[in-house]
Symmetry: C2
Subunit: 376 residues, 2 copies
């Protein structure tokens, strides 16, 4: 969907016009009360569920297909689910590789740094266009959870439930440090060309590959890595060179290679900045309770015990701030071995918590109970 009006951005500039790619599942009901917005994390897209075809004809499954679909926890026989690709991403929505109408050339480094809040404002225009005044729920994991949080603060009257999974109220110094290593790997790759590599017919693949490798380590738990890879050698013995000795090396390099072939380096820079900048308490003197004071939604938060990127403690801070505001909040801390990545995986306790929550959201809709002002 194309939006011809300029979108003012948190950074002080604006984007003249933009397109958002989105995908929907299920049917919007008569009173438009069953819409669920799914927000993506770093490297995902609007393809949240089902099977879709890539440009090259290969078929892929949506990134949250275990969670969303007919009969699944977010049941598309009940809900009208929208997956949306964010501004600055590289899966169809306006991003750095698209033509900047002001210059006639790809944006490249000229693409503005966008924030979680900017994304939410852009998504709100999509909701307007689709005739959705109020979402039954906005949900997401990790960076997607930040968007679900931001929705509850920026458009409190437009969201009945906020589902925030494996997220955090703000990145720690260590989180930022890892993001900056990734950015430095890209920015110092000679093929980066100041962000305008499109014109040179190259991509900063080496930097992007290293960025993905270091990111990937933070998505897995130490225990899970030990379990999956341990010190298993690829060829039975040490090779005494700098090729592949250990399976973990093979795995990470493969992940890095694959990623560097489909993901845009400028997008990686932008999305890590959006992560770093998210800090809703910042304009409230660091007081998260105050930041969440104007929310009206009910909340579900989920965290995972071995997630050292956004540890359970971080979710508990959000829960505490919501409790301080007397908001209705459900919180599940899942004892799962898979680290941050657990939010994309199949743990039945996790899946069932989300299912039970959405069953109740559905009951409200069936009962016609969806004026959240009454609850505020």
């Amino acid at each position: 969907m194309h939006f011809p009006a300029p979108l003012p951005l948190q950074g002080g500039t604006s984007i003249a016009d933009y397109t958002l790619m989105y995908e929907t599942y299920g049917v919007l009901n008569a009173d438009h009360s069953n819409a669920v917005l799914v927000c993506h994390a770093l490297n995902a897209s609007h393809h949240v569920a089902g099977v879709y075809e890539e440009a090259d004809g290969t078929k892929n499954v949506g990134w949250w297909d275990n969670m969303i679909g007919p009969g699944k926890p977010v049941d598309t026989d009940r809900f009208f689910v929208i997956g949306v690709n964010n501004l600055g991403s590289c899966f169809g929505s306006t991003g750095p590789m698209h033509i900047n109408s002001a210059s006639g050339k790809p944006y490249g480094a000229a693409f503005p740094v966008v924030t979680v809040e900017d994304w939410v404002h852009a998504q709100a225009r999509l909701a307007d266009a689709l005739g959705i005044g109020q979402f039954a729920a906005v949900m997401g994991g990790s960076l997607g959870g930040m968007q679900a949080m931001a929705w509850s603060m920026l458009y409190p009257e437009r969201i009945r439930h906020s589902v925030v999974i494996a997220s955090t109220p703000k990145l720690s110094a260590q989180n930022i440090a890892f993001n900056d290593v990734a950015r430095q790997a890209i920015l110092t790759d000679p093929d980066y060309h100041g962000g305008d590599y499109y014109a040179h017919g190259v991509v900063p693949r080496r930097g992007l590959r290293v960025a993905r490798m270091v990111g990937h380590i933070t998505y897995l738990s130490d225990d899970d890595m030990a379990e999956k890879f341990g010190r298993t050698l690829r060829n039975g013995d040490y090779q005494f060179g700098f090729g592949i000795d250990f399976e973990i090396e093979s795995y990470l390099r493969y992940q890095g290679d694959k990623f560097s072939e489909y993901f845009d380096a400028n997008t990686y820079l932008l999305i890590t900045k959006a992560l770093d900048y998210f800090d809703p308490a910042r304009t409230f003197g660091g007081d998260l309770t105050k930041a969440l004071a104007n929310t009206q939604a009910e909340f579900l938060l989920v965290s995972f015990s071995t997630d050292w990127r956004f540890a359970p403690e971080r979710s508990r801070e959000i829960v505490q701030a919501l409790v301080n505001n007397k908001r209705k909040v459900a919180y599940a801390e899942i004892d799962a071995p898979h680290g941050h990545d657990a939010f994309l995986l199949e743990d039945p306790r996790y899946i069932n918590v989300v299912r039970a929550y959405y069953d109740n959201v559905w009951k409200e809709i069936e009962a016609g109970k969806f004026d959240n002002k009454a609850r505020a």
Copy 2:
């Protein structure tokens, strides 16, 4: 000291001849019973204590000067302390930047991959040359601790005490993963030139910089980073670009820049491989107790509560294996906030544990009690 005889290496090759740079402190006593060997970790050298002058005239303090010196825990008024730079390093001992007598050119990528065990064999020849049949102690932190452990297994009769600080019996998959990210950053830097960058008059500075940044994150604890840097902004507000926003970014980039100016990239590759390969239990079917069965030394182990690189659990595995072998072992787990780097810092409990231990080592020497065969 130059060693003209070839040194056979674990990788199956050998090095034709080599030089080891070393520095000594204190005086070797009449019966040569007061020698202490200090082994360095990734980026350090033979300059363990006191003030020394760099090639450019700047003066620096030894990397363990808080631990070693007159009146210090390892008291150089008592002990004859030797700091030795390892093979493959870049501080004077034979390494990749030195001329390979076989080719007449710098070794570069032709420098053999060396192991902790190779280093220990090379150090043993230095001990021979210095007339030291048996060390009062061999000590080190991190990778240095691995050398102290290897000494106790390879030359059990030549070491009375093994002091192993912030170390591990082997790297985890996560440890290896971080090392491989660092190596990939270097190996894919266009200035790496297959390891023979000396001939091109360049160094793979970008890769080395990223390698150091990611390494540095693993040396600090999450809490310590939060305490020191948190989300403090360099210029008071978000800059909406890819320059420096947060103090942690400034700090890490500075560390990376500095490191890339003095450290050799080939050495970085070699030393991370030595770390990855250390696994003395490997030839004993993974049984660390069996691997340590032939040791005769007494042991001091120290770990730090917030060290997530080589966590206390890893030291406890060593302690348990030593206890299983009925070895005499002291173990201190220091509740310190500084992560892996704590082994280089000033925590008084840590310093005092080491002091007390060496006081006892000294008492043994004064009493003439230093035939460790009697204890085996």
